[in-house]
Point group: C2
Chain length 556, copies 2
């Protein structure tokens, strides 16, 4: 079997200006980055604002397992299939982080015949957006410490600095550091740490900004810490937001690439969905809606995590109303939720599938709470038996949900034709009646509780007094209308990553909260969740090499 990289190399890509032209983007609106990548300039984006919007389709999934589900491939395959059916579609994806590339996940550009290209460039530096975000994050950090060094005119309490540094790297040694050592010329020392760039508030601000003005204003509103009296100090108080916005200016233009089948794809922004809000940029999605009849976009991890945040945070802020949601599942992943070990997944086990369907059922129910029609995309493996697939169909039929078998991984657009037909039908029917899960004016602690109960099916939340006080201080400071971003393991509805299936009645521990005032949401950290991953025992970086022809091997 060919690897993803081999399939990608065998494909003939078209010049990006051709892809753009077919999508209705003129050549003079493109800022090329190499032959197959381009940014789309702000003038063009302003020019298309008066156009009507296409329909928005969310691709989300069951709780992820080690078996893999194929959410990105489904997003790409669906976009390709819609185009093949003659529906103008635009695919909107997140940009990959460098961290997982060198860890163990590999790339994030799809797989098989459902890929965006050029995969090596997209997975490595792409158009430099994440580097710009890292720089903006760290410029603010350097200006904070410089502010302390030169006398601390804002009276920021050095013990209450909440802004952390960032790198787009899996680097556990930087999670927790003491900086400012070395004496008078480098101090004062203080506790500090690095998050991975995709967890930075700058990433969230970047992804939620509607335009450059909004970006600069949001950056000014970023909280960097507080004074002894508890009042917040903002990035604008140390005049950092203008330079941060300058660093992000070019990055904020959405990136256009193509799928292996020549569909256009906007790949822009990329917060992780477990430790951040998990969806691509508002600018890219809104641009896509002006250009296409159907925009297919992905939210990270399961429907409970990335899906909920897409709906409650991104759609709320950007005024988006999805037409429907596609939940991606596989028989193999359902069997894992049903208790089967990874090594045993190729053996038929209808009972395990049925048990695992509890997880899928739960996600379908959850999405309907947002008023969305749901379709299940079942990515087919050769080891799946007819009886196992029938079990999925039967269970979903009881909920009135259509199951579409998908083979876009091996067959490209043709393998997602049924799914595309079903999606197009729902989009045409306008059957959706989207509403967020909770209103803006609910108290912050109640928002956390509603998500915990309605989505995670927890009995309650455990909120220590210090956390409750902090939430109260956010409300007092005027942030009470903010939505909540739950930072949580992606593997379980509970905070325990080993509890697969559909656990309920648990208590969700809220260890910590942070006010992302620039992004406009409160982060609630549920259980043990790292904002800086580590590398595994044998990082994939060890196998990466340049051949004598300058090709990268071992990346995928």
């Amino acid at each position: 079997m060919l690897t993803d990289m081999e399939i990608a190399r065998a494909a003939t890509l078209r010049p990006i200006a051709q892809i753009a032209a077919a999508a209705g983007i003129p050549a003079d609106a493109l800022v090329p980055y190499g032959k197959y990548k381009a940014k789309i300039d702000f003038d063009f984006i302003r020019d298309v604002q008066a156009r009507p919007d296409g329909a928005l389709v969310l691709v989300t999934g069951i709780s992820p397992t080690a078996a893999g589900e194929g959410k990105t491939t489904t997003t790409i395959g669906l976009g390709d299939a819609l185009n093949a059916l003659g529906t103008r579609s635009m695919i909107c994806l997140r940009e990959p982080s460098l961290g997982p590339c060198f860890g163990m996940k590999g790339g994030a550009t799809g797989g098989g015949r459902a890929q965006v290209a050029p995969m090596d460039e997209i997975n490595l530096h792409f158009t430099g957006d994440f580097h710009a975000i890292t720089s903006a994050n760290n410029l603010l950090a350097a200006m904070i410490d410089n502010h302390l060094y030169w006398g601390n005119a804002t009276q920021l309490d050095p013990r209450r600095i909440t802004w952390r540094r960032a790198l787009d790297m899996n680097d556990r040694a930087l999670r927790s550091i003491v900086n400012g050592l070395g004496g008078t010329t480098s101090g004062p020392p203080r506790e500090d740490g690095f998050d991975i760039t995709v967890a930075s508030e700058v990433m969230a601000v970047f992804c939620l900004s509607r335009d450059l003005d909004d970006l600069q204003a949001r950056l000014g509103g970023v909280i960097i810490g507080s004074r002894r009296d508890g009042s917040f100090v903002y990035a604008r108080d140390i005049k950092a937001h203008g330079a941060m916005a300058a660093l992000l200016r070019d990055a904020l233009m959405p990136n256009l690439v193509q799928t292996l089948e020549g569909s256009p794809a906007l790949v822009h922004g990329g917060p992780f969905a477990n430790i951040a809000h998990g969806c691509n940029s508002v600018l890219a999605t809104r641009l896509g809606l002006k250009l296409a009849d159907i925009v297919v976009t992905e939210a990270g991890f399961g429907a409970d995590l990335g899906g909920e945040k897409f709906l409650d945070i991104k759609c709320r802020f950007a005024g988006l109303a999805p037409a429907c949601a596609v939940v991606v599942a596989t028989v193999r992943a359902l069997k894992m939720h049903g208790g089967v070990q990874k090594s045993e997944l190729s053996r038929e086990d209808v009972g395990a599938v049925t048990r695992g369907l509890d997880n899928l059922d739960r996600h379908v129910e959850n999405l309907r709470k947002f008023g969305l029609p749901v379709i299940v995309a079942l990515n087919r493996f050769t080891s799946d038996t007819d009886a196992e697939i029938a079990a999925v169909r039967d269970a979903m039929a009881r909920q009135g949900v259509e199951v579409c078998l998908c083979t876009h991984w091996s067959d490209g657009a043709a393998g997602a034709a049924d799914l595309a037909q079903a999606v197009r039908k729902l989009a045409d029917q306008k059957a959706g009646d989207f509403k967020p899960l909770y209103p803006d004016d609910m108290p912050l602690i109640d928002k956390i509780r509603v998500i915990a109960r309605e989505i995670y099916r927890a009995r309650d939340i455990d909120v220590p007094a210090t956390v409750a006080q902090r939430l109260a201080s956010y409300e007092k400071a005027g942030f009470g209308r903010a939505p909540v971003c739950i930072a949580k393991t992606q593997y379980s509805f509970s905070a325990d990553p080993t509890r697969l299936g559909a656990p309920e009645g648990h208590v969700l521990p809220i260890r910590q909260v942070r006010m992302s005032a620039g992004a406009g949401f409160v982060v609630a950290i549920a259980g043990d969740i790292m904002t800086m991953p580590g590398l595994p025992r044998v990082p994939s970086a060890e196998s990466i090499t340049l051949t004598d022809r300058g090709e990268i091997t071992g990346l995928f």
Copy 2:
């Protein structure tokens, strides 16, 4: 008077493919980054290798002062003037670092009518090369700590790790840190620190590599630390070099931009000259020599610092033999070397000019030790008087050195026409007889001493026993033939930045040495020299902002 930014905005740039075509680079060899920047691909670079080389001209300067000398503008103005005379020229410059942009220096793209463009893009992220270098540096760091975390199979002594992290930012709080805090899952803790990216050995490797193979091999040879028995551990021992090379692959293609007068310029790589070797990439310079009759290139800071390293390190490794050297000076800067305060520079003071000429004399003498013919470029200010200029001409005439008055800052190419004529004459005469200052097979400590005595005019060097032992260990490990890179203040021939003019008889303290085995040189740190700058009391970042038209103001 117009600002540099206003002059730059008023200029009409040509599409980069037109600039490339005029320089003999076909469109299919270009990898565009926006409309006015492009990388040049490796296939084309390989194709031109059989061509003869043009002449190489080094632009260097007197010891820099707060008055400014205009070395970058002279490099650009000279290139423009040569082109205007009908000599095909190529300008080779370093890429700017983000650090000084947000500190106080401003941009590094020239000034007045002698600029490379687009200045804001070149000064901010450009084509992402420095971000790639930062990532490669920090991937190695993350892999080192990950190696300790998972059992330290190489038996690297955690107390003897010499590899540091890097950011392209002025951030003194990161100079010296303790990382790995937070317990079992993040540790073990150890002392660590960040250098600015331009000081990273990866930057030096990048700038000295002849091609991708050489790059990967050099990265493998980077020393990360040593074992208890003193033996070195290399990047290849933890299999980091392949992934580092993958991160740097695209960055290693030289960047083509244009001057405001439409001359081609290769802007690629950018180590600082005080804490690193101070010149643009070997790949860019060698490519320039294949494309142009005269390549004009700049080395950072004074002729003692960047100039010496250009000649003893870059030219030695790359097999380059410059045709001549241009030493840039101004009457104002000479007066500062003669003891005048910055506020008094506009008043005529022939005596101070004469005293300050000691500095220029010294640099001219030094450059002749390398067998190079020398020309002095005197950048004219309106406050300069005829008597002051005559003092410079007279002093240089005694050394047989031509002084060319330059006004390219205000007049563009026409303002450097005399200089261009003089340079072309020297290049045509082939009067140069370049040789490095010391041979490869001299002991390392003697190399340091030769540079200190011949260039810095020190009576001797002060080398603590621990430093001498370390130099001996480098020789024992097989690195005895390496040249030496002196890390030193740029303001004085001595290690004391306040001693302007031409001090002599001092002792140069060698505080520390480091083996940059991947780059291929030994770094000798003379006196107090920071490898991570700090921000000033009022960083220029505070004045940077995005206008509502998306333009960056306050950067220059």
